[in-house]
Amino acid sequence: MNRYVWLALVALGLLAPFAVYPVFMMKLLCFALFAAAFNLLLGYTGLLSFGHAAFFGGAAYVTGHLVKNLGLTPELGILGGTLFAGLLGYLVGSLAIRRQGIYFAMVTLALAQIVYFLALKLPFTGGEDGLQGIPRGLLFGLIDLNRHVTVGSTPLPLSLYYFTFALFCLGFWVIYRAIHSPFGQVLKAIRENEPRARSLGYKVERFKLIAFVLSSALAGMAGAMKCLIFQLASLTDVSWHTSGEVVLMTLLGGVGTVLGPSAGAFTVVTLQSQLTMVGPWITVIIGGIFVVCVLVFRRGFVGELGRLLRRSL
């Protein structure tokens, strides 16, 4: 994609906290990264994981524990959460990639439910309440992530925002690079025709596993970021609803497009926050929108836009 489009997007990201409520913007970034990581698997490898909340939420708990109970600095907490999610991804992936299609999805769901159970029962997780009051701490022991800068009359948590934005860019760049790498090219071949890729001499399982680990580690990074922003790791983060939501976000925005999942995440999270006043009807409304989108824009809205512009977005 065009260099100027990227620069414009980065500029928008840098200016966003002055226009949008920063905590909300950070939430958008977390889910955008989560969906982009998920898309690496669904969109570029053709694997539908139905247990990605385990990596997102699992990392949130680990980061929360490291920062709150062991007193690590936030960057180490996030690193720990990300590594944990990658390791968990290795275990789940090794088992799940032996099966295909719906069975793959079911294995990931079942293993994610085990993680949910552990999050409920393990001593350090806070059970039903989750981990609360997680301190944001000092980044590298120097920068106070709680520091607010007053612009006009509103105090803005700029250090936390830019830290989040930098991590988002890093994660997004890793995904972008992986998609547009020699490795990514083989992933696409596997997605397009697995037996053929195998007969060309590619060890398909190994590629799938690496993609799975990358995807889960980055999903974990998104969860770890969310844990510091909301100072909370909760059962919602590991629940299967979250696993389902990320599928929804990715499909809405456009599976197999670079920007689609993030756009989908922005849409879903914005709708959720704008529609809170309608109460439980929100599920019906989002469900309706989803059905309409799937029927009308089968490639997701970024996918359809890319088709109109005849370029891959």
Binding site: R177, A178, S181, P195, S199, Y202, L214
Partner: protein, 256 residues
């Protein structure tokens, strides 16, 4: 049935190869020898076990008993990707292309395998552009140069098969296994694919399953006729087509 000259140079050999599906013997006691440099055709009526043999040889099925030797090495227990690395490359009955990639990318994925960059997710795919010239040359050789940037899924059937051959040749296979290369094609495409197979056979061995006996007659140096999972007859086209058993199996359809 033995080859005329037991000392002949065999690239692929099966010994007492059998495959049973729940008691039904799809292939039984098959001793097949493919000589290096030959175009060897595997023919037989429907349900004779040709595709099963093919899937056994390419490791997409595991034999119940028996061994498969490639260049004298036992490959019976190897995985499909392993034998591909040894230079045994297969095609599929239905066209095996990557529909969402361009024809150029299709061929490049095959060329990429030898570069040892395939696990490098941190590198830009710009490094693959150095393969573009070779990919284009291969597309050119099958008459697809004009379509290098098209949507593969939208190509005509015969072109997809030609692309598949170009992709396969990119791996520089020693032994090419073609599963019904002309199946479902119009006469014009059949001639083109026949010429391509002939062209591809230079310097390598080809084992093909083929229904179209005209193609077999044109191409094959040696023919094995299968019936009910066993060898019915073997030899050149002239020999096989005169064989009374074969004539009976084909009910006179074999130009007899």
């Amino acid at each position: 049935m033995l080859a005329e000259n037991p000392a002949a140079d065999c690239i692929l050999e099966t010994k007492r190869l059998s495959k049973e599906f729940k008691g039904f013997a799809a292939v039984s006691d098959l001793n097949l020898q493919v000589q290096r440099g030959h175009i060897h055709a595997l023919i037989g009526p429907n349900g004779a076990g040709k595709t099963t043999v093919f899937n056994l040889l390419t490791k997409f099925l595991t034999p119940t008993t028996g061994t498969i030797l490639f260049n004298g090495i036992d490959i019976t227990r190897e995985q499909p990707a392993d034998i591909a690395l040894r230079g045994v490359i297969r095609s599929f009955q239905i066209s095996a292309v990557f529909p969402g990639l361009t024809p150029l990318e299709n061929v490049r994925v095959a060329l990429q395998r030898a570069t040892n960059t395939s696990y490098q997710f941190w590198k830009s795919d710009r490094c693959l552009r150095q393969l573009d010239d070779r990919a284009m040359a291969l597309l050119e050789s099958v008459g697809l140069a004009a379509f290098s940037g098209a949507v593969t899924g939208e190509l005509a059937y015969g072109r997809k098969r030609a692309l598949e051959i170009a992709t396969t040749l990119a791996l520089e296979p020693k032994l090419l296994l073609l599963d019904e290369p002309t199946q479902g094609m119009g006469a014009e495409d059949v001639d083109r694919i026949t010429a391509l197979v002939k062209q591809a056979s230079a310097g390598r061995t080809i084992l093909m399953v083929e229904h179209n006996l005209k193609v077999v007659e044109t191409l094959a140096d040696r023919i094995t006729v299968l019936q009910r999972g066993a060898i019915l007859a073997e030899g050149s086209y002239a020999e096989v087509s005169q064989d009374p058993q074969v004539m009976e199996a084909y009910m006179g359809s074999a130009h007899a």
